[in-house]
Amino acid sequence: MLKRVSLFFVFCTCTVAHSAVIDEVQQKQWVDTAVVEVFQPLVGQLSESTEKLQQSLAGSCDALQSQAVFVAVVDDFSYIEYYRLGAMNSANRAERIFFWPDRKGTGQKQMRRLLADPDRGALDADSIAKKSVALQGLPALERILFGQTSALNAADCRVAQAIADNVHSIAQQLEEDWKSDDGVAYRLQNPTKSSVYRSSQESVAALLTVAESGLESIADKKIQAMIKGLQQLAVMPKNAPFWRSGQTLSNLENNLHGIERLLIASGMAESAAAEGKLSFEFDNASRMIAAVAEALASGDAETAISRLQALGFIVKSLHALSSEDVSVKLGIVTGFNSSDGD
């Protein structure tokens, strides 16, 4: 028969812990502020910069000339990369604009094939949008703009233009979703029983999930990929995002800025009395990223690895601050299973 064991378990008649009583008006305020001051302007910014990239490539086939514009697009995209709400999650937009990680090198293989295709000069945004997601977005365009040659031949230039057009089209769809009367912003701001957000509390929970899953992904995926690559190769690995254009670390830093802005500008961090702690830790992360860059610039892979490991800890600490100091204090308790039960 089974042995009866009493460990740390304490039995009691159930009284489910009640989360703090939250003011519905306050919740709505956080959501409204996040929509108007965070999501809409940042998504709008991406739409603007992708339009500039489109124009730049339409005006010149000199890759060098478009590189700075591309860098600005990556900066703007990095801010919203983890804003996985609404249109970003449908029609594969997240992957179409940024297919990463590309574990099997699909982008490279497909791009090689495409650039060898004599009919590539006939590509446009519509036809590129029907191809593999690995060919449609920023990593694919980076391959062309930061490749071997500066002056692109007409056909390769057409491929770059088609990708830029496609990226701009996706950015416009995201912008439209955040502005339209029936888009994601509307649903977040107007919860109903039969909608994906049934209450303002669920809308707030969705915002906090954006922050928490973003931080988790940065720590587990991006930073780990860099560490692993550096351990093997002693230089920034080719599986790191935007390594060709040298934006791996700025992508990471802007990812964090995007999450910081959501938590702080929405007013959620302040209401949870966690603004100071969060800002302090986000600043630490920025300083550590600068320190990693310094180590990489001097070719000291070992130091870069230990600094990336430290950065990983800082991002984990930010995750804990967001999930405990902010979420719990705002009465949004993400359950053990509901966060990611599998």
Partner: protein
Amino acid sequence: MAINRRQFLCLASVASHAATNSVRAIPEKSERLLASAYQSSQSGAYGVALCDTRGKLLRSEVLPGRGHAVCFRPGGEQLVAFARRPGRFMQVLDLKGNKPSLQIDSQVDRHFYGHGCFDAAARVLYSTENDYQNARGVIGVYDAHTQYSRRGEFPSYGVGPHEIILHPDGYTLVVANGGIETHPDYGREKLNIPEMRSSIAFIDSRDGSLIKQFYLPDSLQKLSLRHMAISQYGQCFFGAQYQGAAEDMPPLLGTVSLKDGLQMLPMSAVQLASLKSYISSVCVVPGTDIFVASSSRGGEAVVCDAKKRSVLQVVSGRDGSGVAAFGTRLFYSAGDGTLRQYAQQQSRWRPEGSAQQIDTRWDNHLSVNAG
């Protein structure tokens, strides 16, 4: 290492013999036990626990990492707790004697997906595993008579196999291929969402061959079929998790059988909104075509009649996920340590007694032994 034909025939002879006796008599005075993986609220340690049907803790054992599903070996001698994806252990607990637990590690280039099932003879254990270098699912085959030595594997006929259950015919394995590629280098990140393709495969355990496979229509390409339960009549009920925009609110529940194929269960917008695109666990009420599907994200579980294709009732429990049933009783465990019990009265399930809450977090699944 693929299982060879000789190994198959040896193990299959046991399985097919048992198939003819697959409906096992349950001793009247046997003890019903509930089991679940958990995390300690205090120390954060992971473990597996056994309770009686009043929710009283009988035994707990620390696991090397986070567990997922727990599977009783028919006959009640042992239970197996599986590591949660991408974990690499399964832990075998001796329930009758005092033997120390046995930890079985996954093969070096495989990891577990958190589920497994025994054959009807209680000899062979099948587990869903990831051949992550080749991005394909496999079913690991373990011999319970030889300390769970791994005898080989066969394909799951898809990517990301999750729950595996034994069909009442005694030899068919039903596998939910979630369709999502993951690789340990990227933790739990989903790597192939645009191309994912989920399916349910009916596999002949005697030789690992595919009997039939059912796919979702293109319009539901981003549904990941994960959890299943099967009635004694061979009706399989499944629950899915959606990888697209939450706003889409696609159907999440359905049935599949070799005879009738795969069909989704219609639900209202309010019901779908409450499930939050995420089914976390499924169980069958034995002897019926009634199934229960929980959504930890929605904090609700729906009781469905697979024959009438309708939702009979909704029960609530914050972070509730584990569901298990026997006789006229239904159990519902939650991440806040609550274990709720319901008793069937006419066509409704009504709460019975006070819910028990302990200082732990019940993990995704709850299992009940055959008594």
